[in-house]
């Protein structure tokens, strides 16, 4: 059932009795062409594009809980393409372009809002780095503007210009960056995939891979064995746990990133702001809550919760940047498990097991990657060749010394 203006009016006048489930809850079939493990944003998007662009007939998504319950359901909703390195640029460029067309593609309003992202700079060295990055963005076909202090003040007059420990010396503005209603992305892809015949199987945990003679034949699950021509794993924070079942050790650690939302307020912050001298970034949701975050908690964990030092650090940074928020109240905090990779960049690759494919290592940047990740993973699964936008995302890049290290922090995942 397509959503349309007419449909809305009709349903409103007839008591909303006609709305159908956004996706079905089918029992698993014995065999699929492709089984995607993980019903998060990336897994659902992969299934959608497999069905839509690669005409894969029988696709299933198996999810151990409810779809969209992982990072796509708990993030700070930012989308952007402001990458520096050539391994990343084509991918995020593609992703942002796909966001721009998402609503029409899915017939679902995920509220893509290109309200602009401003990365502030506070030192000359940061400005040099911002200039290098901004130029890289433009050269890769994205947009960037380098603002001076006055340029920043025009956009955000309420930032701390007068009494700052680290004065604002400018900022890199990426106008096409913005926010997306995160839950709607999962639901929109789920509904879209379901309409194309994909089986979305919730509450079905993969307990093992069935691998014989180096080939993956399917997955053992809490709902029984599901045979598959190919299996694609897109389980973000659970990557190490799931791939260990196939005997793999990954260049990935799991860390928690906390995020925060304030009580609802009348609109005050039009775009997305990131602080360059502290750990803080912030936007305001359409509903009115300030959505903000900072650094990860620094220690490995699978517990979806964080601790006080990071909360205090983030808020100290926030108030230092925007003193007018002093009496705004923090409403809720939550923690998501990040599959932090060794260079801060992701993987979309085959594994040494025939028929088993891996998508992960998204760190805390997985949300904005959702459409391109789905498309590139679908491409790889369908064609067995990497999508040209994701060619650098290989699992063996540390062996060859071809790291994609945007932050220049080396093999320490908690610093990416």
């Amino acid at each position: 059932m397509a959503y349309s203006g007419l449909r809305i009016i009709k349903e409103a006048l007839t008591g909303h009795k006609g709305w159908r489930p956004a996706w079905r809850d089918p029992a698993p079939k014995a065999h699929y062409d492709i089984v995607i493990v993980g019903g998060g944003g990336h897994g659902l998007a992969t299934a959608f594009y497999l069905a839509k662009r690669y005409q894969t007939a029988k696709v299933a998504v198996v999810e151990k809980g409810w779809i969209g319950g992982g990072n796509v359901g708990r993030n700070t909703t930012i989308v952007r393409s402001n990458y520096l390195l050539d391994g990343n640029q084509p991918f995020y460029n593609l992703s942002l372009r796909m966001w721009e067309d998402l609503e029409q593609e899915l017939n679902y309003n995920a509220m893509v809002s290109q309200r602009g992202i401003l990365n502030l700079v506070h030192t000359d060295a940061q400005r040099d780095a911002a200039r290098r990055r901004g130029n890289a963005m433009i050269l890769a076909g994205d947009d960037a503007e380098l603002l001076d202090t006055e340029g920043v003040r025009e956009l955000y007059p309420f930032l701390n210009f007068e009494n700052a420990r680290f004065p604002i010396k400018g900022g890199l503005l990426h106008r096409r960056g913005g926010t997306v209603r995160h839950d709607a992305v999962a639901w929109g892809y789920a509904r879209g995939a379901d309409r194309l015949g994909v089986d979305i199987i919730q509450n079905c945990e993969v307990t093992d891979f069935r691998i014989e003679q180096g080939k993956c034949l399917g997955v053992e699950t809490t709902k029984g064995f599901i045979g598959a021509g190919k299996v694609g794993v897109a389980v973000a924070g659970s990557s190490s746990r799931v791939m260990a079942k196939a005997g793999m050790r990954l260049p990935i650690e799991s860390h928690v990133l906390q995020a925060f939302v304030s009580e609802g307020l009348k609109p005050i912050i039009p775009g997305v702001i990131t602080y360059g001298a502290g750990h803080f970034y912030c936007s305001q949701s359409d509903k009115g809550g300030l959505v903000f975050g900072g650094d990860i908690d620094m220690y490995n964990t699978y517990a979806q919760r964080g601790n006080l030092p990071v909360i205090e650090d983030v808020v100290e940074s926030g108030i230092s940047l925007i003193p007018a928020l002093g009496r705004v109240r923090l409403l809720r905090s939550w923690g998501g498990i990040m599959d932090m990779s060794m260079d801060g960049s992701p993987f979309i690759d085959r594994t040494q097991v025939d028929g088993l494919y891996f998508n992960g290592g998204w760190c805390y940047g997985g949300f904005k990657a959702t459409p391109a990740s789905g498309l590139c993973f679908a491409h790889l699964l369908a064609t067995d060749t990497p999508h040209e936008a994701a060619q650098a995302y290989r699992l063996d890049r540390f062996r060859t010394g071809r790291m994609i290290d945007e932050k220049g922090q080396g093999a320490q995942p908690n610093l990416h």
């Binding site: 659970s238 190490s240 746990r241 260990a244 050790r249 990954l250 260049p251 990935i252 650690e253 799991s254 620094m298 220690y299 490995n300 964990t301 699978y302 517990a303 601790n307 030092p309 060794m342 540390f398 062996r399 093999a411 320490q412 995942p413 908690n414």
Partner: protein, 95 residues
Amino acid sequence: MMIDHPLLGLRDAQEFTYLGDASLIDRPDWRSDTAQEEFHDYLYLRDNPAGEHRELWYHEAGDRSWLVVTRNMLTHEITQVELARDVARARGRSK
């Protein structure tokens, strides 16, 4: 979090800097024929278990000792804290 420092007792984890898996103590021998492969595995691959994890913490705002903390990654329960130097020696490291 609180870390029960073997010398100083319970200290707020905020005083520490975290490094990662305690296997980073086991630095390979540079003279090995397969040194590059071994260093790759040493530096980049992780067990990343959803359970007990031995990991390195540095008491940076404290006594500057490196500790090996055994902590559960699901519950954060800490079951053992050792001086990393003792662990390193026990694992055969010397000069």
